[in-house]
């Protein structure tokens, strides 16, 4: 669908980010955007509130975090956009009603260790990867 759009917009135009009309529209897009930028929010998952304190020994819960906000350019200094996010933005600008903006999502995830009983009262200490959002970014 991107190819067909290109044809609609004329042969001389391309999707290069260096193109001046597109760059202008990117700036416009950014300044008109009033929503909060993509960032990390804290969210605590409580094992205690799940009623699991009889089998999960530790932790009581964990700060899982989540990503939320709009992926608008330029991004915050600590965040980087993937090439896909840049392309997704360009395509979204060409067809805002049908093509969504890039997603604000985790770019780095951390592990947590969970200590729990099994049915036989044996104890398991296991490391679970990708449980905690360390950083958010645009995809």
């Amino acid at each position: 669908s991107v190819t067909s759009k290109r044809r609609h917009h004329g042969r001389t135009k391309s999707t290069s980010v260096q193109e001046s009309p597109r760059a202008a529209s990117l700036t416009e897009y950014n300044t008109s955007d009033q929503r909060q930028a993509c960032k990390k929010h804290e969210l605590y998952v409580s094992f205690r509130d799940l009623g699991w304190q009889d089998w999960i020994i530790a932790p009581e819960g964990y700060a899982a975090y989540y990503c939320d906000g709009e992926c608008s350019f330029p991004l915050n200094a600590h965040m980087n956009a993937t090439n896909h996010a840049i392309v997704q933005t360009l395509v979204h600008l060409m067809n805002p009603d049908y093509i969504p903006k890039p997603c604000c999502a985790p770019t780095k995830l951390n592990a947590i260790s969970v200590l729990f009983f099994d049915d036989s009262s044996n104890v398991i200490l296991k490391k679970y990867r990708n449980m905690v959002v360390r950083a958010c970014g645009c995809h």
Binding site: L50, G61, S121
Partner: protein, 272 residues
Amino acid sequence: GSLLLDTGDMHSSFVHRRLKQHEKRDMQREILSILGLPHRPRPHSHGKQDSAPLFMLDLYNAMSSGGSGGGEEEEEEEDGEGFSHRYRAVFTTQSPPLASLQDSTFLNQADMVMSFVNLVEHEKGFALYQPHHQEYKFNLSQIPEGEAVTAAEFRIYKEWVRRHFENETFQISIYQVLHENVNSDTDLLLLDTRTVWASEEGWQVFDITATSNLWVMSPQHNLGLQLHVQTIDGQGINPKMAGLIGQHGPHDKQPFMVAFFKVSEVHIRTTR
């Protein structure tokens, strides 16, 4: 209560409310699936054997001490180096470390540790006039799929012997039970031995890695372990006389087994 608590600055579109009962159940099911558990465990008590949970909690605390709350691991630890460091710290504080375990690379590779409670309730070896050995059995059937044993050890606590054998040296041997014969001697395989002074006090650690692997692969061969104690002149004695703690000893010094695992396959969540 509310399962998910937003403790940060709330986004205007974030709706903060208590979860409905069915939403909470769904969330529980999803988290159990992430933890690789088919259902919520319902542990039942095996007497008051606190030693294994306490050992595991020490490991957990040692591993979590470098991270933030909830046992979160720092990014640089994800290669396993931090894991190894912290296991070693606990080994050295909990017991004289077993040389073979210390030197091997399994610690760098372990991503799960599991302790097993002793299922033998009748301690014939700890009665004064019974045979001079003690039996131990462990249920390894609940090890999650895809986990491979990299090391395993049997731990038993020894107290300082002040009477009878004050200046004695003991040889403690751990055997795997190969066959249980009703009318003749049980077939045993020697796994590990340690020589200890009567005055020694602390956890005695025995390497049972090969046997644990066998038990995981062939559960029908899991007939348990036997512990024998001899004086230096070869006389068998009751383990209790050598200061080894049995079922009637303190709850936090009960014998147990601990195994280290490496994930051998990627956990794939089934599509519903």
